[in-house]
Symmetry: C2
């Protein structure tokens, strides 16, 4: 199993990479500059000498050679990141983990997204991709603490059932994650927006919370 991470040197990308490597998933860690991707991959290799998965540092286009490609980049500047990737992700499973998060003097909030959700915006810009959305609410801080299993649900959104199942399978490789198909791609917006709420809750209650749905036994 192999996953590519566009924006793999950011906190979320690096955190997911760490967890997947430990679980034996190979990672193509992408960055704008291949050299930065390589530096991050070197760091992960040094940090996790016994990891069952292999990591390679590449540029974002190189990350798109994996069968599943996670977009772990900020919302700001997203169009410029996606544009050169469009031909490369043709036919591939792409996962938007992008949140329309912004901050002002009053704290975190969500930018309005004309397409309804960032996931739908990505689908419009990557028309050949098998678009899904997941991982929005997973805490980078919790991902980093490898000695502590996560307690996080990863609902997966998308209109391509097979792609959604593949992403859930990949997410479920992470210790303590519970991932499952959650609905159509257009339903990703509330999860994208939840990150701003999570940041506000974390600040108020000095925590690094995650999402769990109660009374759920995924089928």
């Amino acid at each position: 199993m192999e996953v590519g991470i566009v924006g793999g040197t950011g906190a979320l990308g690096r955190g997911l990479a760490r967890r997947w490597l430990v679980a034996g998933v190979d990672v193509r860690l992408g960055s704008r500059d291949a050299s930065r991707g390589q530096a991050a991959a070197d760091e992960l290799r040094a940090e996790l000498p016994d990891a069952a998965g292999q990591v390679v540092g590449v540029d974002n286009l190189g990350a798109c050679e994996a069968p599943v490609v996670v977009l772990a980049v900020p919302y700001e500047g997203l169009d410029a990141v996606l544009e050169p990737l469009a031909p490369a992700v043709e036919g591939r499973i792409v996962v938007s983990a992008v949140n329309p998060l912004a901050f002002d003097a009053h704290g975190p909030y969500n930018e309005p997204v004309a397409e309804g959700s960032v996931a739908q915006a990505c689908a419009a810009r990557l028309p050949g991709a098998r678009m899904t959305a997941a991982f929005h609410s997973v805490s980078s801080t919790a991902l980093k603490r490898l000695d502590t299993p996560l307690e996080d649900d990863v609902p997966v959104f998308g209109d391509d059932t097979e792609a959604v199942d593949a992403v859930a399978t990949l997410a479920n490789r992470i210790d303590g994650v519970r991932s499952y198909p959650a609905g159509a791609l257009r339903l990703a917006a509330p999860l994208e927006g939840l990150t701003a709420v999570i940041i506000a809750v974390n600040k108020r209650h000095k925590a690094h919370v995650g999402l769990r749905l109660s009374r759920l036994t995924p089928r």
Copy 2:
């Protein structure tokens, strides 16, 4: 402690009323027609003869005589419901539990809300109210099962700290609810939207899920 419920004869309103009555909270159960409110109150009294709280059936305006007023009405037709209530809720704590939920051939989705969230739309239409938002993700089906404690977080949003605390206190009276201040009123939108996700998850996984945040000890 007393709470008024606008739209108290709907599934959510009735469910919350049931739980509050059992917990010893008095309820003013509002409906468009006072007679329907009274009929629902009579039913609750018959169903819960040992409830510590008192229930009275009223019209929606009568529900606004309580110090805390929960809006448990559909998004469709909201303006017409709110307009006559504006003078009555002056200075009172109002809780929007309203979701911009809609359905089409592809299932549940969220209507776009020009103000950003239904909570902000309510604040604009009830300018004298101390506006908060909560209870969006609580399952009516779970509320009905009085023999089973809930396993639900009720994050409360609002810009009036005292009002938010009062709503959290009220929510925490319900067995199994964990309620806490979660952030500014403008952050209510993701919770409002989550209901459509919950409906999709419930259908897919044959469940009546609720929201829980992991790794949280509210302060």
